[in-house]
Every structure is written in C-alpha cells, then in structure tokens.
Symmetry: C2
DNA sequence: GGCTCCTAGTCAACTTGTTGACCAGGTGAG
DNA sequence: CTCACCTGGTCAACAAGTTGACTAGGAGCC
C-alpha cells in the first residue's frame, strides 16, 4: 500500500518511465522503499488506472517505445494525504545481522568475509551519496541551500542514507576487530 | 526463506514457544528481521516438519498448553550453512522517509509531528537496548565481556541496533530544526 | 458484574514482493 | 562475427508478509 506513495514521491522529481524508476530509483526513493522492476510496472499500471498518474506514450526509433509517467492533480492530492497520516514504524531486514547474531554457532570466517564485503558496499554507497549531495548543493553552502532551495525533502533523506551507511561501515569495522581479537585470544589458550 | 534462519538464530538463546518468540523477539532478532505472530507459527510448523526444530508439548493447568521449540542438530547444521552463504543486501522500508522525501509537496506540520513521534520511539528503543546491554555485560567492562563471553553475536547486533536508533534520533532532531527554520524564514518574507 | 488484558495459540483470505523467462533491436568489445 | 549488455518493457507462478476473526480460561480493576 506504500509502494504507491513511494512512487508518487519519486515522480515529484518529474516525468519518468518505469525503466527510469527501476534504475534511477537507486538515487532516491529506493533507499528506503526498494522494489523490483516488476513491482514498479504493476504499481504504475494501477496508479494510472486510478488516475493518480498519467502516462504519455513516447514512440522511439531504434528503441522500444516507452511510457513516461507523471503526477496528476489527484496524485498530488493522494501524496499530500499520505504525508498527513501517521507513518507506520520502519522496518529493517538484514541477513547479515542474522548471521552475526548466530556467529558463535556459525562459520565465523565466512561471516567475517561477509562483514568485509558489506564494508565495501557501504563505501560505494557513501561515495555515491556524496556525489549526489554535491550535485544538489551545486557549490552552495549547506545553510544557504537549506534556506533557499524549493525542496529539502530529497536532501534530508539523502542525509539519512549517508549516516546509515557511515554507521554501517563503522559497525562492520568494529565487529571485525572484535572477532579477530577473540580469534587471536583463542589460539593462545 | 530467511525468516527460517532468523528463527533458528533466535532459538540459540534456548527453548521458546511461538508466543515467547512473538513477544521476546523484540529483544533480539526482531530488530533486523521482524515478523508477525502468524508468520512465526507457520514457520515454526514448517521447521518442525523439516526436522530443524523439535517441539516439546508442555501441558499447563490454568493456561493453554504450549509447544516449546528448540534446535535439533539438523537445525544447527542448517544455521551453520546459512552463515556460510553470502547474505543478500539488507533492506530498509520506512514510510517516514517517504513522507520526508515528499515533505515539500505534503503536509509539513504533520510530517514534523511524525518526526517528533519517531524521536520518542527512538528514545524508548535506546533505553531498552541500554538495559539489555547492561544485562549482558552484567557488571563487567565491555573489553572483558567481549574477550571472555561464550557468545558475542547478540551483543554485536545489539550495538548495531543502538547506533541505528541514535542516528535516527539525531537525524529527526536535525530535520526538525531545518524545517522549522525554513518555516520561520517563510513567514518573514 | 462487566471490562479489559494476558497467555497460547489456530484458521482463512488477502496483499506484497520475488523469480525467471520472453521479446526485440541497438551498441560496444574482442 | 559473436557475445554480452542496454533499453523498455510483458507475463506467469510462487513465496512471503499482513489482517482480522475465533477459542478459552484466568487475572486484575472499578
């Protein structure tokens, strides 16, 4: 019921095709409401059927035709109403954490490896977020931007993503240290 | 496919009923793999059918009977194998972030209210986590605990939960400030 | 005495999310 | 020249998660 709203929010950035959203989603809403391409296409169809988005068919030579979606006024109203309802509590689902939870009865070397891989993923994400941030700021200082930009929502969520990945990185690093130290200790005794 | 593993990991803490897990889950695995009671009962049945957990029926006077589940050796093996597989990337789903993303086109006062409520939720969680942490440490210093405890997994995941909620709190606070400042600016101009 | 909440579940129906395959032409690498 | 990958989708089947109702006795409250 909320992918709808994530899509509407994404379309605030302007017209987009399902394909655009499926990819570029990464840059915005996908970080706190991920979805597979399938889900997007299905939901876009429903949104169109409900009149919350309009589809514009763009014929392309040399490429498959595409449908560009944009918000209708009804869509904007629906989004506005959504922001007025109390949000349900957020959810995290992370297999890595399950593995860490079970590390003492599991394959520790593999879990350490997984932690390392998560670190490089986090670093990649941080780099991408920093680039997006620089793009939004576009040379201005943060204060200036926040005071004058016509939209701050995307910047705020971006900052949440950044801090999340930074904490991820920090935590993985620390956990690795702890596991390695225990390993060293074990081998002595 | 992974709720299985979350459950197996939870059962490392010892025998538990579906009901225990549905509640006490909060204290451990539910933070990174939430599930409704329904899901737990269903999955526990499947786990029992697959021989990964064993159920012990405990008859109670004055209370409904309960089934206490515990890991079988097959269950432990399955959990071990799970920790050896590369975890899939974690997912966050949070309506509040969608609302913040759309705040500039939405009901800003309501979103600010939602941020405030999220702050108190975060504070509650932090307090709970701190209590759990104190319980685990049980008077020892962290270094001592981490070097000698027979399990560190639960402590590590607890620390991740703590840092997540702290960042949540910080971010909500900061976002509120930014939104309020913009409001003040708007009213002058 | 009635109200709600707690324990410990079960059942059914529904909505979401995931996986994998298919189509078709264009582009770039080797 | 082939192979893989990119654009822009569609379809079907399945797995996972959610919601709401029902059972049933006991406890505590006012």
């Amino acid at each position: 019921m909320s992918l709808r709203n994530a899509l509407l929010a994404a379309l605030l950035e302007g017209e987009a095709s399902g394909y655009d959203l499926a990819k570029g989603f990464d840059a915005s809403v996908a970080n706190f409401w991920p979805a597979t391409p399938q889900q997007l296409y299905r939901e876009l169809d429903r949104l169109a059927a409900d009149g919350l988005v309009r589809a514009r068919l763009v014929h392309q030579e040399k490429r498959p035709d595409k449908r560009l979606f944009s918000l209708t006024e009804a869509g904007e109203r629906a989004l506005h109403e959504f922001t007025a309802r109390p949000p349900r509590p957020g959810v995290i689902r992370d297999e890595l954490l399950i593995q860490v939870q079970a590390v003492d009865a599991g394959d520790e070397a593999a879990v350490r490896q997984a932690l390392k891989e998560r670190m490089t993923r986090a670093e990649t994400k941080i780099a991408r977020y920093e680039r997006l941030r620089a793009g939004l700021l576009d040379g201005r200082f943060e204060d200036d931007y926040l005071a004058n930009a016509e939209r701050v929502g995307p910047y705020l969520t971006l900052m949440r993503g950044l801090s999340f990945e930074r904490e991820n990185l920090r935590w993985c690093e620390q956990s690795l240290k702890i596991l390695e130290r225990r390993n060293a200790g074990d081998q002595v005794s």
